[in-house]
């Protein structure tokens, strides 16, 4: 799986190779509960992700990390504040975005190939081209020969690979990842992290990556954003100056600089986690 330049069919977004800068400023999102009360999920969140940067968001459970992503994707509209992608204000669905969830959002009734093809098909790519593109991507994630399987016939790691191919096939400017590897076992997780880093380095989309795993955040990212417990707001931002390419994720964990950064970030995160836990324990 080296990056030999294969003649790829023309990808749908013509000039999307560069990731887009994401500017979140003063973002607040309130939800209306069925009883008519308002619930503030995030308050005054400001985050900037440079074009092609890998940014992780870490925070206690229920602090509005996923809410932030939903605003960036344009699936929801902010109550206050704004999101800009590549300098343009987000209104409606943002162009050139792909999502990856913790639960692999695959179509159980479509074959692996059909799943990966969905991206180009929805953009109106002719079926032949979409098929070729999907085959190419399945090869890139190491699933050549599994085209005709259905998702339930694959292991968890393989399903993640399919989801990854499906997310990257449109060559997105922005990749939103909501705890994508949260449900995987430790070994599979490490393999998938390496795989993700490799593909990211080829395509360089801007990434917003939600995780609970601090090691994961530090090992993968250029920037780590710590959020406070509910209502979520930005507490700290750390720039990770570990050199790229990072190489093996498992090995980087033992480097001195990694441990130092990880320790500093944990200091910041610790209070929030304890507070969030105390609140949820009190409520229960």
């Amino acid at each position: 799986m080296n990056s030999t330049p294969t003649p790829r069919p023309p990808g749908p977004p013509p000039k999307a190779a560069e990731g887009a800068r994401i500017e979140v400023s003063g973002l607040t999102k309130r939800y209306l509960t069925p009883k008519g009360e308002t619930f503030t999920a995030i308050r005054d969140v400001s985050v900037t992700v440079e074009a092609g940067q890998f940014c992780s968001i870490v925070g206690p459970t229920g602090c509005g990390k996923s809410t932030t992503l939903a605003q960036v994707s344009g699936l929801e509209t902010p109550s206050a504040g704004s999101v800009k992608v590549g300098g343009n204000l987000v209104e409606g669905i943002t162009n050139g975005v792909s999502y990856m969830f913790q639960a692999d959002a695959l179509f159980p009734w479509k074959s692996v190939l059909g799943n990966v093809m969905m991206g180009p098909i929805l953009l109106g790519t002719p079926k032949r081209q979409a098929t070729d593109l999907a085959r190419d991507w399945l090869r890139r994630v190491g699933l050549a020969g599994f085209e005709d399987r259905f998702p339930h016939q694959l292991s968890g790691g393989m399903r993640k690979r399919v989801a990854m191919a499906a997310a990257l096939i449109n060559n997105p400017r922005i990749l939103l990842m909501d705890e994508p590897f949260g449900a995987l076992d430790v070994q599979t997780k490490a393999i998938m992290q390496n795989e993700l880093l490799k593909l990211w380095e080829e395509l360089r989309p801007s990434v917003l990556f939600i995780t609970h795993d601090l090691d994961e955040a530090v090992a993968l990212s250029d920037r780590v954003v710590i959020m406070t417990s509910s209502p979520g707001s930005v507490k700290d931002v750390f720039d990770i100056d570990l050199p790229r390419p990072r190489g093996n994720v498992q090995e980087i964990r033992h480097e001195e600089r990694f441990l130092e950064l990880q320790g500093r970030i944990w200091e910041s995160l610790k209070d929030e986690v304890t507070r969030a836990y105390a609140v949820s324990a009190g409520a229960a």
């Binding site: 792909s98 959002a105 969905m118 929805l122």
Partner: protein, 294 residues
């Protein structure tokens, strides 16, 4: 069992033989199991039908009221050879099957459309929901009387009654199916730029299909019931008419014979639906209980 085979292979250092022996043993076990199931089934059928025949011959149960298997057979033969007062049995069966079939189609069609519509629109479902529940709780079979008064003795009121019965079964399933759609999947497709139409075609409908098809099994039974009841209430042709005629002449055997005929038709339709289910839902993981049979 597996551990046994493993230890054997290691000790004996002949990995091929114990493996195939275990396989053979498994196959024999499976075959024996299915044989015993079939024996059980046959014994049960013989006991019930034979017991019925015996009790009625001995006079412990009055065959004037409860019929007798041998006489049911006779009236079956008579139905097929001599026909009925309303034409041959095939003619009547054709009418009933036609009513049930079109009622089934109509009810399923409307049920699926409304179910998907209400399932995907929160406002609409909140408004209409209580009324649907009210209509569902009234005894709909009584509507048959109204339909016959309104539309006469022809085929149409039967189709309508069958459709009404089918509708609710399919509707509730389609509705639930749409509600159960994986929201991540919807979000994923929307972010990729899908229009509401594409979301429906690629996500909502295929996902609700599992539920809808599951409902079709019960729905066809309801279609038959609707057609039969409407025929009993008033008709010029059909199995229901034969049944009500037989009731009028104190002839339980013909009623039972008609039941047998309808049962065969329903089983046939059921197998067609099963075929459809296999075709449309081949992506589903195999049922685990099937594998446990060994």
């Amino acid at each position: 069992m597996t551990t046994l085979t493993h230890s054997e292979t290691r000790k004996g250092e002949k990995p091929v033989e114990p493996e195939s022996a275990a396989k053979n043993a498994g196959r024999i076990k499976a075959r024996r199991r299915s044989a015993s199931i079939w024996i059980g089934r046959i014994v049960l059928a013989v006991a019930v039908v034979g017991g019925w025949q015996w009790f009625t011959t001995e006079g412990w149960v009055d065959k004037f009221f409860f019929g007798q298997p041998s006489e049911i057979w006779d009236s079956l033969v008579k139905l097929f050879t001599e026909g009925t007062a309303f034409g041959t049995i095939w003619e009547n069966l054709g009418v009933t099957a036609q009513e049930a079939f079109f009622g089934f189609l109509l009810g399923t069609f409307v049920g699926v459309i409304l179910g998907i519509l209400l399932g995907s629109n929160k406002y609409l479902s909140a408004v209409v929901g209580p009324y649907i529940r009210i209509v569902n709780s009234i005894p709909r079979i009584v509507l048959g009387s109204i339909f016959i008064v309104a539309f006469g003795l022809g085929v149409f009121p039967k189709i309508l009654l069958a459709a009404v019965l089918v509708f609710f079964v399919v509707f509730f399933n389609a509705f639930q199916g749409v509600r159960e759609v994986d929201q991540n999947l919807v979000a994923n497709v929307r972010v990729l730029g899908a229009s509401p139409y594409q979301v429906a075609m690629h996500v909502t409908i295929p996902s609700a299909m599992t539920w809808i098809i599951a409902s079709l099994h019960t729905a066809f039974g309801f279609a038959i019931i609707g057609a039969l009841v409407a025929e009993v209430l008033g008709a010029q042709k059909g199995i229901g008419l034969i049944i009500s005629q037989a009731q009028g002449t104190f002839d339980p055997n013909t009623v039972f014979a008609c039941m047998v005929i309808i049962a065969v038709v329903t089983l046939f339709a059921e197998s067609l639906i099963n075929l459809l289910e296999h075709r449309l839902l081949k992506w589903r993981p195999p049922n685990r209980s099937e594998a446990q049979a060994i």
